[in-house]
Amino acid sequence: MNKMPVIEIKDVSKSFKEIEAVKNLTLTIYEGEYVALLGPNGAGKTTLIEMIEGLQKPDAGTIRILGMNWKEHEQKLHQKIGLSLQETKFIDKITTKETLDLFGSFYGLRPARTEEILELVNLTEKRKAYTNQLSGGQRQRLAIGIALLNNPRVLLLDEPTTGLDPGARREVWKILEKLRTDFKTTMILTTHYMEEAEVLCERILIMDKGEFIAAGTLPELNARYGEGDLIEITFDQNFDIGASDLPGVKRLNWVNAHTKAEVFVDNIAEVLPSIIESTRHSNIRITALTSRKMTLDDLFISMTGRHLTDA
């Protein structure tokens, strides 16, 4: 690949009192990439992203963005970066439009830019509403609108959809997907929703206790750490499915001995017919069957023993 590196993080560490929030991380992000930092609360995601944003200083290591660093190029970097923080509140009795005008003025933008942003984040109808009258999803879209005011080349979003209902979350995703196709923006977002990482980002970094414990595209992660697809099957009587020596089964896990099994396979479509065939052959009835793709949450559990959404 001949892509230009946009964010270069090298050997970065940061501690708060006794806690090592970020441990010696190195990461390069290329132009146009959408990268997810996925992990539970306290994994170090916010500390890392805020160091990239220049809001926190690393104890050790270097961070370069578009070839610049915070110490020497603060003003220039502010012009190139757009960001939204975790749970920003706005001034209560100031309208959506006025809030955008205010932030626009910091970048020296024309008021016309406010109208473009209102359209982009789908808040034109709410332009005259005070920010304290906005719903959670609308407020989050306003935060993203502010992040986009200056046409940033680098977008840094800290949990942009936490606390939103699925509908509101999808609306945010739609905006971010449009950005990727229209403006080739480079983005890092932190999240503890694996679905968000899967839908939006081509590269996923799973973080736990200040370290990357896995990194790659979703298929890469699945191939390397996951066990493909998962079939959960229940029989009406004892059946030793393993004795059939079925092709394509990677691992078998009895939930209830000989009646309920988790079957890890490479590909559901290839394995499932032969399982059904073998039960029919032995006159066994299948009482329940579910099958699904391995998710990042399954992956995270298999690596850390905890759920992503655990505190």
Partner: protein
């Protein structure tokens, strides 16, 4: 126009005018205070003192409503009410009356707290009234001070203006900075190319304009209602006003420089404002405090501000008289602003 200073100032204005509570406390409250205190202490509406009388037989001159001292030029009305001793003692405790009289045969016994000035005064008035007209050789008389500049309201209005400037700055600048930090909005703003100096200046500009507006309202009201006037130089008043805003904005920025907790903020604000409100002679002259405390009191920013505004209002002071106070207030503003800015926690 879309410069950041203009937008920031505009935002402060919007917050002020869209929040009815802020509008009330900043503009109407000082006016109501001036009205209530002005009436209570300026003899608008006549005051009648009530004195209880106990005893079996009460002489006619100590019952009903009587006027004493007509011949002195400063008559006082006293209303006598017959009561039991029990009632009288209770009324004293409740502060309804300052003294009561006990009639025992020919003699009149005054019961009152000897250090209560109001009771002392009533005692003298009644005593003198009971003794009848003084010998005509003694040609003393009282000429009531009704001239502008000598009444309580003339003392009060400059104090209220100074207090208004302090409150407007400490709450308007200090509190709103802390709130902005609490909401993480400060952190968000600082992640843009916004200039920190412009951000803080917008608060000062807002205070100058809103403080001016509040002061004008109060001046207009007291002028129309009580006929108060500025006897000194208006330009000198403007100079003191600006120096006051500058001093208290600086103090507010210093107060707001670190904290992000409401409880701490509340405590800090009260720590700074309450002592000055009490000590700085806003409502009553601070010369009642012990002598050793006066140099400290006179050095307080609010005292400096109130005294200088008072000098311009009632002593017809010009620039020379207030120059020292303006210099001290401006320096206070500059120093607190500089320290505050250095300590300021943006993140």
């Amino acid at each position: 126009m879309n410069t950041s200073l203009y937008q920031l100032t505009l935002t402060n204005f919007r917050v002020f005018f869209r929040e009815p509570a802020i509008l009330f406390w900043a503009t109407l409250f000082p006016i109501i205070m001036a009205w209530v205190l002005g009436i209570a202490f300026s003899g608008k509406g006549e005051s009648v003192k009530t004195v209880y009388v106990i005893g079996r037989e009460i002489p006619g001159k100590l019952s009903g409503e009587k006027e004493f001292g007509e011949n002195t030029g400063n008559p006082s009305k006293i209303k006598f009410r017959k009561a039991s001793e029990e009632e009288a003692v209770k009324a004293i405790k409740q502060g309804v009356i300052a003294m009561y009289l006990e009639i025992a045969g020919d003699s009149v016994i005054y019961h009152f707290d000897p250090v209560n000035p109001e009771a002392q005064l009533t005692h003298l008035i009644i005593e003198r009234g009971l003794q009848g007209p003084q010998d005509s050789d003694n040609k003393t008389s009282i000429k009531p001070l009704r001239a502008k500049g000598t009444r309580y309201i003339d003392f009060l209005v400059p104090g209220l203006i100074a207090l208004g400037i302090m409150n407007s700055c400490i709450w308007g600048v200090g509190w709103s900075l802390i709130e902005t930090r609490m909401k993480k909005l400060l952190r968000r703003m600082i992640a843009t190319p916004m200039k920190k100096s412009r951000f803080l200046s917008s608060y000062m500009i807002t205070r100058v304009m809103l403080g001016g507006f509040e002061t004008l309202l109060l001046l207009l009201f007291t002028r129309l209602y009580f006929g108060t006037e500025i006897t000194g130089s208006i330009a000198a008043f403007v100079a003191v006003f600006l120096a006051g805003i500058f001093a208290f904005s600086g103090i507010a920025i210093l107060i707001a420089s670190r904290t992000a907790k409401t409880e701490v903020a509340n405590g800090l604000v009260n720590l700074v404002t309450l002592p000055m409100m009490i000590l700085s002679g806003i409502f009553f002259n601070y010369h009642n405090f012990p002598d050793w405390a006066l140099p400290v009191i006179q050095a307080l920013p609010l005292t400096l501000l109130a005294d200088s505004i008072r000098a311009v209002f009632i002593e017809a002071a010009g620039f020379t008289e207030i120059l020292k106070a303006v210099a001290i207030l401006s320096t206070t503003g500059l120093v607190t602003f500089a320290i505050g800015l250095r300590m300021f926690k943006w993140y």
